[in-house]
Amino acid sequence: MPRGDVLHGSRAVAEAVKLCDVDVIAAYPITPQTHIVEDLAEFVANGELDAEYVLVESEHSAMSACIGASATGVRTFTATSSQGLALMHEMLFIASGMRLPIVMANANRALSAPINIWNDQQDSMSERDCGWIQLYCETNQETLDTTIQAYRISENKKVLLPSMVCLDGFVLTHTIEPLEIPDKDAVNRFLPEFEPAVYLDPDDPMTLGAFATPADYIKFRFEQEKAMRNAIEAIEKADREYKKETGRGYGLMEEYNTKDADIIIVSMGSVVGTIKEVIDQLKGEYNVGLLKIKAFRPLPKERIKEVLKNARVVSVVEKDVSIGLGEGGLFSEIKGILYNLDERPKVLGFIIGLGGRDITQPDIRDIIKLSKKAEKDVVDEVHWIGLR
């Protein structure tokens, strides 16, 4: 029997932000993120959340204001989607480069043109190199829990990188389903008060955002990569401790039936629920497992390799594509991870659900059938699902 409440994914994010006592929120509305910022505005208006809410005039300024606030030593939050995330692009690098532990929810949505408000993951996938932790969520419960965990991870002194909590637009944001809201005491135990590592204070003047010459720049980038590697451990630690408080944990990734599976599907976000269901439906007929990638950045490469190395076929199912490469970003990376194995599985890429195209159970069955075929026969490496 479910416990808690039935809430939208958007509300789940807002509830998490409230539980984390965020100090400054700067946000600009965009579909399908709007309910998040509306709910937060309501919390602030009703005194449920004692935060400064900056109603900026663009997402670019939303991220800039978060950078200013975080650099002044307070916990900050913003949320965006699609074009908004793209508009932030420049500032995302700056937030991570300055090592500011900002947390942002991204309601995953397709990018224009043509303009399309529906879900895919091209927006966040296109920001994979910007130095942000990226955590993809399967359910509303996971979204709430991940948002809380994100602060703990980002604020970890060995990490100090901003986090992007990715939840599929509409598919999660506008869906209501049961979830439990942890009690405030549990969150307080889990998430210590924010102690900024660097911050602007007239009593101890500091310069942030200096310019670095070629002599130093590469060192900063290397430091960021080290911090990302540290984040792998930080994510697991946060997850363990969160589980202690709430009974729920997600890890860096989730393995579903992967042990001894001939075919392993790799995917991220809400579609993994549908995939799990179809895997169960085909049990006995097809020996299929699923590797759900939760942490896409940092990507736990060694763990992924361990899980996938003995499969015959690895099929990457994703909602994004690198135009000109003709394949999805996750597919390229998974292929790369497996490349140096002496014996490696075949890797197939499936581009699906772009622009909100519904991902049906028959779609997943077709993917599994084709993957099975690939065990013996030569099949195309990349498949676009939904062109008809």
Binding site: M1, P2, D5, V6, P32, I117, W118, N119, T139, D168, F170, V171, H174, T175, I176, E177, P178, S270, V271, G273, T274, K276, E277, G356, D358, I359, T360, Q361
Partner: protein, 181 residues
Amino acid sequence: MREIRFHGRGGQGAVTAAEILATAAFYDGKYSQAFPFFGVERRGAPVTAFARIDDRFIRIRNQIYEPDYIVVQDSTLIEVVNVADGLKENGKAIVNTEKEPDEIGLDTGAEIVTINATKIALDMLGVPIVNTSMLGAFAAVSKEVTLDSIIKGIHKRFIPKLASKNEKAVEVAFKEMEARI
């Protein structure tokens, strides 16, 4: 798992109905899920919303193609949308109309029940917003959810004054439908 598809027009509260149903199922101790056909529809345009009810957590996220129930909030939609598309043979269609089931031209092998929800809504709420009345009818016809939980769901969703009006509409529709079946 039970899958319910709501058909309405923008402004008639089809999405709200799906959400109240999912909430009610939750109050009944079930797992549930509700979501709209994510669209950009404006007032008056055809709208679809979905709800699922199950005894375990609902993992699937796809739209509903083979519903157990369809709830049609406006019988004029039958002419423009194939509302009964994929409706299971042993499923049920609940349609808001003053006509009898065989008069509405709904092409389905499933059972059709009709209710004049517009009249109930006008009597009880003063506006032709039928979503809550249709939920009352759905509860009576389907027995998938209790009347009490629907009412509880309505109170969660609406401000008190509006909730009590809608509560009455639900009760009237529920009784009328119970009397019919």
